[in-house]
């Protein structure tokens, strides 16, 4: 009996909704993002790789895996090899906490909101290490910018998540989802629209997408922190970015949009919940791609100023509103 349970758990970790599903879905999200981005710019986007270009991210990944892997003389060999692997491992680990096929993730423990927030901070740190270890001046500039931007977006991101946790009076993702499904009956975005907006904006900064792609800024500092990475290592970084997209949109779905819950046929919940998860994350990605194609890159000081001057007070205001609503007994 125990071996069977262990096997099922292992399958959950590796196949669904663990590693393999998440990687495939990450590739799909990248394709969705690129296609939408192209549509907004009046282009067509990937077209000839697989049906409608669906396999483009996969083709990029395989090509990079098969390319020569250069380690520059000036790089710190151990750190240079380790950071890409760690980045992928850490992003996969955080995804285990996201509820995909049921109201709980594969892993769930008390206080996992804080754990997930902490690990998503490690993303930023790993990017800084990645730039630092490659020993190139462009990546050094990229590292500095990552650090500075990190100071900007991390606090509003955490505050927006905290306001949701305050509304549900719980620090466990499962409980927050349960609260929306069973007690409130509404997704929390109804009461925390400001927090949702702040979450999306800081998520863009976390993913280093266009208005906040300052650390990569191809036109200024070539490729930022990833300038020296080639072949397998670059492939892993790209994979990690895709996984982060799944993580960010999945967490938004879980915290603000009622998790993977939706109308379903009794008995077939896992399938319907997965479909609802995909629909909700695609909505989040749609908003993110919109923002990405609407804006031009900000300057680094504008980003830090903007986050601290406007986002943090707004996030605090949102927490106050939530507390007021709880005090009045609305939620």
């Amino acid at each position: 009996m125990e071996t069977i349970e262990l096997l099922i758990l292992l399958l959950k970790f590796i196949v669904f909704p663990g590693a393999i599903f998440c990687i495939a879905y990450g590739f799909f999200l990248e394709w969705f993002d690129r296609k939408l981005y192209a549509k907004f710019q009046n282009r067509i986007g990937p077209l000839l790789t697989g049906p409608k270009g669906l396999l483009q991210p996969f083709a990029d990944f395989v090509k990079l895996l098969a390319k020569e892997d250069i380690t520059p003389v000036g790089a710190d060999k151990l750190g240079f090899t380790l950071t890409p692997l760690l980045t992928v491992a850490v992003s996969l680990f955080t995804l285990l906490f996201i509820p995909i096929h049921s109201l709980t993730g594969v892993l769930s423990l008390p206080g996992d909101v804080l754990l997930v927030l902490f690990i998503s901070t490690v993303f930023g740190l790993l990017i800084m290490f990645a730039g630092y270890f490659s020993g190139n001046r462009f990546s050094m500039v990229g590292t500095e910018r990552t650090g500075l931007q990190f100071v900007g977006y991390e606090i509003p991101f955490a505050l927006s998540v905290i306001s949701v946790a305050a509304a549900a009076r719980s620090l466990e993702i499962t409980n927050i989802v349960n609260y929306q499904v069973n007690i409130l009956g509404l997704p929390l975005i109804v009461f925390t629209p400001i927090a949702f907006a702040i979450y999306l904006i800081s998520a863009l900064a976390k993913l280093e997408k266009i208005p906040f792609d300052i650390p990569e800024a191809e036109t200024e500092i070539v490729g930022g922190w990833q300038v020296e990475y080639s072949g397998k290592k670059l492939a892993f970084f790209r994979l990690a970015t895709d996984l982060k997209m799944v993580f960010v949109s999945g967490l938004a779905a879980a915290l603000f949009l009622g998790g993977p819950y939706g109308p379903s046929i009794p008995g077939l919940e896992p399938i319907f919940y997965t479909i609802w998860f995909i629909i909700k994350t695609l909505i989040v990605m749609f908003i993110l791609s919109n923002l990405r194609s609407l804006f031009a890159r900000y300057r680094i000081d504008q980003v830090v100023h903007g986050f601290w001057k406007y986002m943090v007070p707004l996030a605090v205001l949102q927490i106050l509103i939530v507390e007021g609503l709880i005090f009045m007994g609305v939620i």
């Binding site: 690129r34 192209a38 710019q41 009046n42 282009r43 067509i44 986007g45 990937p46 077209l47 000839l48 790789t49 270009g53 396999l55 483009q56 996969f58 083709a59 990029d60 990944f61 395989v62 090509k63 098969a66 390319k67 020569e68 892997d69 250069i70 191809e218 036109t219 070539v222 490729g223 990833q226 300038v227 020296e228 990475y229 080639s230 072949g231 670059l234």
Partner: protein, 144 residues
Amino acid sequence: MAVLSKLVKWARIKSPWIIHYNSGGCNACDIEVVAALTPRFDVERFGILLKGSPRHADVLVVTGPVTRQTKNRLIRIYNQMADPKFVLAVGTCTITGGVFRGAYGVLGGVDEAIPVDVFVPGCPPKPEAIIQGVVKLLEKLQKT
């Protein structure tokens, strides 16, 4: 193994990332290369992306003749790229030196400095011609 190498070849053909370098041309070719990336021609259809770093790119797109000043830089950029790498030379200048041939600072075509896979003639070539050049390059890849 055969399946794997087929997969890799398919991936290589489907995602050639380019880096663009002007080794001393008059800029018209560069404008045409950039035009190939814009909505009207949109080479992202074929999976082509413009990359900033030579370490990320597969195809080096060179425009203009090689001058004495840029020769070393061109060679250095070529050496920085990861294998397998290809060179696409755009414009008449890259073949013979074009209108700059014989000038005191000009060495001549791009093959004076680095090996070239495909030449695209024209002064400047149309974006269609550049895309045709890329297709020729991919055909060459298909045969290997």
